[in-house]
Symmetry: C3
Subunit: 424 residues, 3 copies
């Protein structure tokens, strides 16, 4: 990257006349209008290298004012090639403009579905790809609640502050905290109270690594190296996971014995698979209730899912609104508890792994089972829903399971047989 | 303020003989009894200006020991006039001794109710004004749980540490954190992980503003300038909101283009009105259950509300105890989720606006609807409550709605007509 | 401790030839394998005093590789006698290898039960003592979720980083944060936003004390001095509590007037007893449901408790998994809400005492009462459970209460009499 920057700098010095702030036509007016931006640019490496306002913002002032001249990633790319290419390879760069999920989360994705996300011939995803949770938001909530973070996918200034070029800012783990925090992925919080994070604060970055040490080694912008699962926490197949794991063990080996690092990460893998099993148990309960028509309300009696219509959705496109109490509990399990358990284990944080993660996961399973018990009794008593106690209903539920692929033809025949046997 | 302090300093220097710690009669004994207080005072601007113990604490030692010589705001006011006047104008100074809420939250407040809060001729509120949540506390919980923060309304040392005068302490955003944190208003937490807060940590106060930069510009003690809603998040009428908004845009303009600042704040306004609508939907569900006699327990079958008696309360005097499950859910929505959404949006924190705020708001609405569905089915089956399925009950519920003003006379007649029609 | 270290240092200097890193046989290989460990040791007081690898790790490399040469507390003890003895006296040293709870939490503990935790003649507890919550964990979750923190009971390097001897690290309150945080005991979080913690950050350790100031005065390793309750928050009997309180008031007196400190701590005591009463009310509701066979599921219809079998457990061995919704609510009350209220009060944090503590405690009681109401109605309607409405069931419940000691013989007779009277 240093080379790319230097090249750009030299080029700029040759081509453009070296500008002082005063020579820049925007400065007089903007010193008054946006004083911080001007002061920050004036202290920046850009100013020193003669990179002025127009170079990034263009010269069409009306377009800028209308908000149509956003300084997206492609504006920075020509000068910052290496960073741009690394970023494209990473999860930061591969995503969608407005939220994760999308086709990546859909089952049976086909090659020709690429067009769903990409312009033909363009590896960068389109910015208007759909995400169910984003589609349910008001434009305002979408802007602040979704795009403030997911802008990282198309804008360098998500991390690099707009006009300052001081790398101290982006090398501070604080700059990651803006997005990597909160109930769904509290990496910031769990690092802070981990051995790594506490040593970082008390004894410096050499003793305790920060986000950048492990996830951006040697300043790479491919923040996804060494990661062995997708953003929903689903493990990669071995062919993809194994080389990634080797990369991560290599990173850990800057401080630790490789065997120790491997063991610690493999413990994380086991915590992950155990937690996935708890999640699956809960998911199975909910689908069974759906097969029996016992959710309250059923998907057909509530606002439709924006991508899947009047059907139950528990995959990465799951909603937290216009749903039922038991699905709401499952949303928390999946998006909050599971993420905290797994990320807590990989980040070596006991409290996030156990109390904020595993304990919540198991307590939510208790609540899901209790609610399922209530919904089944409710069904039996016909409280506003059609009675479900009879063999006919059991047969209907089995057919639903078969139709959605939860039972094979063989298993379906066998289970149906059992019910018919009992009917005699 | 500087002028006021200087005047006081000069006055003190003229009137009192300049004291060293040794000349102060309390010092010998208190060096042993309260060593920190003595050391802090000795290093303070007060000591340097000859302001000794008696000036603030008085000379009646017995009274001090009995805790009857509290150094309230009026003790500081004569020397710190400007700060005192600004504080009085702010929300910090206008409140009650023991909690917000009170008559300000009651509907139809009349002019002559001023006496409820104020001594005649005194703009400062009385300290014994009632707050329902405070009234439910034990004296001990009231002291630590309520008054530790709400003491700001009558005591400068809530923020200014008791004997140190070093302004570094109160200029540190940390000093605001003691109260402006937690589930009901996590301003501290949301600032820390906002762009403003993270830049403040990594690049200093010039790059990233802190609490004081925006809420106490030029050192004012009127912390409420630029705020456009009351402490419960209810928007001010335009006549009050518009000048406040201008003040805030002016503050933002120290760094940002005014048009940008305005747009960002208006996005917050829209998030606020959208969130209020979600809140209202939930509130309506609960009042409807109350009209139908379906809350479990009903207000008349549980300890009475300390201000409103055996009636449902969902306004700012709402309780979180001695209530029903569905009201408890609403309390969380109103006090926690709504506050986090709205304050998160104004503080530009994506995770607080969306995950901690909006998502919780919508998930709680899911749970409230589920619980309402259960309570209605329970009513229909007469499970310990009187049956509610018949037209007679519908008429009763309509009358309740009319009585509490939720239906106009016209609407009431129309709805009643519909039910009577169906009865034929 | 300084004397002990010096003695050890002198001894080492006399006995062993003074080693440089180069003279140490492990160094060449481990500079490559575990570079951080080597670098940290090289900068340590141990290296300066000639304490090499073998002194702590032994010389059996195979054993080390197999993980059988852990550097437990007894390896450090011979040189660090004072610290070791103080640690043994403290809660940090008295515990079990894998979690609190255990026999200490069981009622009616007998002298000869000591063998349950201790080898005969050894005051240190055995490392394999049972804890119900630990027994329910996978080995991996037990390692990271339990032992990462509870290793403090047997390993100095829980707090002291493994190869660095710089005391700055352990004197930083950050080093306590690794374990003393999270939903069950957020001492780190509540200190940070307390007056003590905020002053510490803005004005230094002299103005605002940290963990070590109050809990490790004069560098003692007995972190339990001045504590008046057990780790579950149950108050000690007066004979044990009174001298402890005197110790704590003495610690506070380094800054505060003793009378003030005493008053503040006594307020904490009152908050504690009031909160215990709320907890007891909830516990009583759950036991009553159990007596009436109304829990869903009942303990006999779910995986058995690993220590108590098919019985309801609400003491310190209570589980958060394989339980019922109402017990799960009680677990949160007991382990999270109660702990936050009480520790919040003693640490002078208004938000943890009131909002995170007391308000949650009372809201969970609302939910427990609501769920109890639902379970009772469910029982009356025989929804999958045996009907409980009749006098016979009341007699059965009374017998259960008598059998578990909740009613004395006299009370039992009296209550039984009342029911029989009604039957006539």
């Amino acid at each position: 990257m240093i080379r790319a920057v230097l090249t750009a700098t030299i080029l700029a010095a040759l081509i453009a006349p070296r500008m002082s702030g005063a020579a820049e036509p925007c400065i007089p007016c903007h010193t008054e209008k946006t004083p911080a931006a001007v002061a920050q640019w004036q202290g920046s490496a850009h100013a020193k290298a003669g990179i002025g306002c127009e170079k990034c913002h263009g010269s069409d002032h009306d377009k800028i004012v209308r908000g149509e001249a956003k300084v997206g990633m492609k504006v920075c790319a020509p000068c910052h090639k290496k960073a741009y290419e690394e970023h494209r390879l990473s999860r930061h760069g591969m995503g969608l403009h407005s939220g994760w999920g999308c086709t990546r989360g859909l089952p049976d994705r086909k090659k020709d579905e690429c067009r769903f996300c990409h312009q033909p011939g363009d590896e960068m995803p389109r910015s208007d790809v759909q995400c169910a949770r984003f589609l349910k938001q008001s434009p305002e909530m979408g802007e602040i609640g979704c795009n403030y973070c997911h802008s990282v996918e198309d804008a360098c200034d998500s991390c690099h502050s707009k006009h300052m070029t001081d790398l101290k800012i982006v090398r501070d783990p604080n700059s990651c905290a803006k997005c990597h925090m909160g109930p769904d992925h509290p990496q910031w919080e769990m690092w802070q109270t981990s051995l790594h994070g506490t040593l970082n604060v008390s004894a410096g970055a050499k003793a305790g690594p920060d986000c950048q040490t492990c996830h951006m080694p040697k300043g790479t912008h491919n923040v996804s190296i060494g990661i062995t699962m997708n953003s929903g926490g689903v493990p990669y197949p071995a062919a993809k996971a194994e080389p990634a794991r080797k990369e991560m063990v290599n990173i850990c080996s800057a401080c630790h014995a490789p065997a120790f690092a491997k063991r610690e990460l493999e413990r994380g893998d086991l915590v992950r698979s155990q937690s996935l099993a708890i999640l699956k148990e809960a998911e199975h309960i909910i689908w069974d209730l759906n097969d029996r028509g016992l959710l309250d309300p059923m998907p057909e009696n509530r606002p439709q899912h924006p991508l899947s219509g009047p059907r139950l959705v528990t995959d990465s496109q799951m909603l937290y609104e216009d749903t039922s109490h038991i699905e709401r509990l499952f949303f928390k399990m999946k998006k909050y508890d599971y993420a905290r358990t797994v990320k807590g284990a990989y980040h070596q944080n006991p409290s996030y792994t156990h109390w904020y993660g595993n304990a919540e996961l198991k307590m939510d399973l208790v609540d899901i089972k209790s609610e399922a018990s209530r919904l089944k009794e409710r069904g039996q008593k016909g409280a506003g829903v059609k009675p479900q106690a009879g063999a006919e209903d059991e047969l209907k539920a089995l057919k639903n399971k078969f139709d959605r692929g939860a039972l094979s033809a063989e298993e379906y025949a066998k289970e149906k047989g059992k019910v018919l046997e009992q009917m005699k």
